[in-house]
């Protein structure tokens, strides 16, 4: 009898523990890894759940970033005694993190304010709060943001739903001592590249693996510069039909030519992102590469000031030498909180730390990003680099990836297509056809 009772007690206690754990999970927002209880339970304090990706959070490996963020939080909390910032960190896998955030938003469990990758920001319009009145009160003009950022921030109803605070741009880096005049077209790349190859250099490199940077640096700009469209107005893939097909085929054939002529070594297929090229840059045998603006600080670190001074930047060369199309990315803050008091507080914190003249200037300087507001480039808080003026000019020719849900599939299939062509595994025609068959 005693054993029976004991077993029943253990069973019931275990069941209650599991149930309470389930209930407990519901009350805590996902992604809260801070371990901080917050003052939310205290009647006088309101907690603002602020979610960022690891490099933009207090978990960043860059001490300067952590120091800046901690100081900004402390300052803001001191000025706004009633509120407390609860830092939350999402996964470092961007695709996974954004998928989870969208799921949370759809279920009404999103943090009060969160970072969203700019190209998929339009998918969040339905869950976000309009910020027009807050922006007006803060005296920040929408027109001050670059046109591509305005497009992202403004919803289909004309209201402002986000604050893009960083951007980046893809560009051609070249060694000025080896390439006095940077190539402007594909033909010039091949011509200059062949000569460099004969001289013993790796002429041109770029990410060519099965990852997002491959299409960002090495396919979309070439395709868009010819007027190609990835999706139609309904978000359906169109890259494999009509004129779009020809344009995509042109871009893939160009990649094939680069490898076949030896201008680009096929080992670029082992490089999934721009930073993977750093080892090649360090050898001193790389003449040109296509990368991102954020690589300037990395290059200075790898090469030292003297060697770095040999490098210049230019537009990505296209089929048409007059085209200057490139790709811009970046991050946007969106406010999900329904409570107006929280909305105002979240907005104030974001402006204080990332969007205001000082905040954007400081954060862009520390992180090596490009500000999204043109006026910030002249602000004393922003210290750019030797290429900043050129990067900001490139941004005027920048396009962003489509926000359509079909994009992830399109991107994955064309990453495979580009990688297959560069490795010699498929012809451009077969690679494109396979990608189109998989997507359509």
């Amino acid at each position: 009898m005693k054993i029976n009772k004991l077993l029943m007690v253990i069973f019931v206690v275990g069941l209650l523990a599991i149930m309470s754990a389930c209930v407990g999970n519901e009350s805590k927002p996902d992604g809260d890894t801070s371990g901080k209880e917050g003052k939310g339970e205290n009647e006088s304090t309101v907690t603002i759940n602020w979610q960022a990706i690891p490099p933009y959070s207090l978990q960043s490996t860059d001490e300067n970033r952590v120091e800046y963020l901690q100081k900004a939080i402390d300052e803001w909390e001191a000025e706004n005694g009633k509120f407390e910032i609860n830092p939350m960190v999402t996964t470092s896998n961007i695709s996974e993190g954004m998928a989870k955030l969208q799921e949370q938003a759809a279920q009404g469990r999103a943090p009060d304010v969160a970072m969203v990758d700019s190209y998929i920001f339009p998918r969040f319009y339905d869950y976000l709060q309009p910020l027009d009145s807050y922006l007006e009160e803060a005296g920040i003009e929408l027109d001050d943001f670059f046109p591509f950022a305005q497009d992202v921030m403004t919803g289909p109803d004309g209201k402002i739903y986000g604050l893009q605070f960083t951007t980046d741009v893809r560009t051609l880096y070249y060694r000025t001592d080896l390439v006095p005049t940077p190539p402007q077209s594909w033909d010039e790349v091949l011509e200059i590249g062949k000569q460099l190859k004969e001289d013993g250099y790796n002429a041109l490199m770029f990410p060519g693996g099965t990852d997002e940077p491959t299409v960002n640096t090495s396919l979309w700009p070439y395709y868009w510069a010819q007027g190609g469209e990835l999706v139609d107005d309904e978000g359906n893939a169109v890259f494999g039909e009509g004129e779009n097909r020809t344009k995509m085929l042109n871009a893939l054939t160009y990649l094939q030519n680069l490898v076949d002529t030896g201008v680009t070594p096929s080992r670029v297929t082992t490089y999934g992102n721009e930073a993977d090229l750093n080892a090649e840059i360090a050898t001193g045998e790389l003449a040109m590469f296509i990368g991102g603006n954020w690589q300037v600080s990395q290059m200075k670190e790898i090469l030292g000031e003297e060697e770095f001074s040999k490098w210049g930047v230019s537009h990505i060369p296209h089929k048409d030498p007059n085209a200057k199309t490139t790709l811009a990315g970046g991050w946007v803050w969106g406010i999900f909180a329904e409570d107006e008091e929280k909305q105002q507080a979240a907005f104030d914190f974001i402006v204080h730390t990332f969007i205001g003249d000082k905040g954007m200037g400081n954060w862009a300087t520390i992180g090596g990003y490009l500000p999204t507001r043109e006026s910030v480039y002249k602000h004393e808080s922003y210290t750019g680099n030797v290429f900043t003026d050129q990067f900001s000019e490139f941004l005027n020719h920048a396009q962003m990836r489509p926000a359509a849900t079909s994009y992830t599939k399109i991107s994955a299939e064309l990453q495979n297509a580009a990688s297959s062509v560069l490795s010699g595994g498929k012809t451009p025609e077969d690679a494109l056809q396979d990608a189109w068959d998989a997507v359509k």
Binding site: G14, T210, S266, K409
Partner: protein, 312 residues
């Protein structure tokens, strides 16, 4: 005597009639295990099978029940390539892991018997490869296979006249061989442990008898040792095969499935479908294909054990 007998039967019947206590029943003890199994194994499998018959996405959970995911999977241009890549990867990984595992186990066994110095170090070194997480192994081999001037293997090969280097990971065929080779390196230790354990069970008398009969080393290996080890080898074969079919982490870190899809094994394809393309339905359908393969392997495994027990 009669009374005693009657009395004994009465006690027995009384004991039989006695109501069962819950504490004496095994049911209650099994409840936690059954709950865990239901939650951790059965429920996820049912969900995967259910999702495989939907067009669900990872983000947008609105879905309809359809065979579209299976149709899309089987008609995908990459499906048969994925099966070929997986088949190649599994076949050669398992074959070489078994062969090398046997060779290392025999070496260690002989070393131990002859009390050679360094045998324990050799055994530990081999085991280390097994203990390292797959992602780390992927990164280690990425450095070894690096095709730039910083590549270790190409640098070594330059001393034997291969100055132009080998495209270990950028050539579609080479990359599949390279990934398989790295997996062989990783998995040999497990086979070695299994076979080494099996070798310890072989009677010394049997080996001595073959020596008396004048059998040479090769004859001893193929006519005596391997036949005795065959139950262990077979179980090892099944376990290693299932494990290799499920390999994902090392390939992910080493090539990410590239270039193109030349090293995309089934397990990696599931990850790519669900977490990179957000296609939960198609990823689940691919997972069901892998589940069927593993189920088949498990059935063979149990049949083999049954047969082995029957022989014994």
């Amino acid at each position: 005597m009669k009374n005693e007998s009657n009395n004994g039967a009465g006690i027995y019947k009384k004991a039989q009639r006695k109501p069962k206590k819950l504490g004496n029943s095994p049911v209650l003890w099994f409840i936690p295990l059954v709950l865990v199994l239901l939650l951790v194994f059965v429920y996820p499998i049912i969900e995967i099978i259910r999702f495989s018959f939907t067009d669900a996405g990872l983000i947008d959970r609105d879905y309809t029940y359809t065979l579209k995911s299976y149709f899309s999977l089987f008609t995908s241009p990459g499906f048969f390539n994925m099966l070929f890549v997986t088949g190649f990867f599994v076949f050669f990984s398992v074959t070489f892991q078994m062969m090398l595992g046997l060779a290392v186990a025999l070496l260690v066994d002989q070393g131990m018997k002859r009390r050679l110095h360094g045998t324990v170090i050799l055994r530990t070194a081999v085991l280390t490869a097994w203990a390292i997480p797959g992602v780390i192994i992927g990164i280690i081999w990425t450095m070894l296979y690096n095709e730039s001037n910083a590549g270790v293997l190409n640098y070594i090969l330059s001393f034997v006249g291969l100055d132009s280097g080998i495209a270990f990971l950028s050539d579609p065929i080479n990359s599949l061989i390279s990934v398989t080779f790295a997996n062989v390196w990783r998995g040999t230790a497990f086979s070695m442990i299994m076979i080494y354990a099996g070798l310890q069970t072989i009677s010394k008398d049997v080996i001595e008898a073959t020596l008396v009969d004048g059998a040479n080393a090769v004859q001893r290996l193929f006519k005596v040792i391997i036949p005795i080890l065959s139950p262990v080898l077979f179980i090892n074969l099944i376990v290693v095969t299932v494990e290799t079919f499920n390999t994902f982490d090392m390939v992910m870190a080493l090539t990410g499935g590239g270039p193109g899809r030349s090293t995309e094994v089934i397990a990696l394809s599931i990850y790519n479908s669900i977490f990179r393309q957000f296609e939960l339905g198609q990823g689940a359908a691919t997972a069901v294909v892998l589940l069927l393969i593993n189920t088949l392997m498990t059935v063979i495994y149990f049949k083999a054990i049954e047969k082995n027990q029957a022989v014994n």
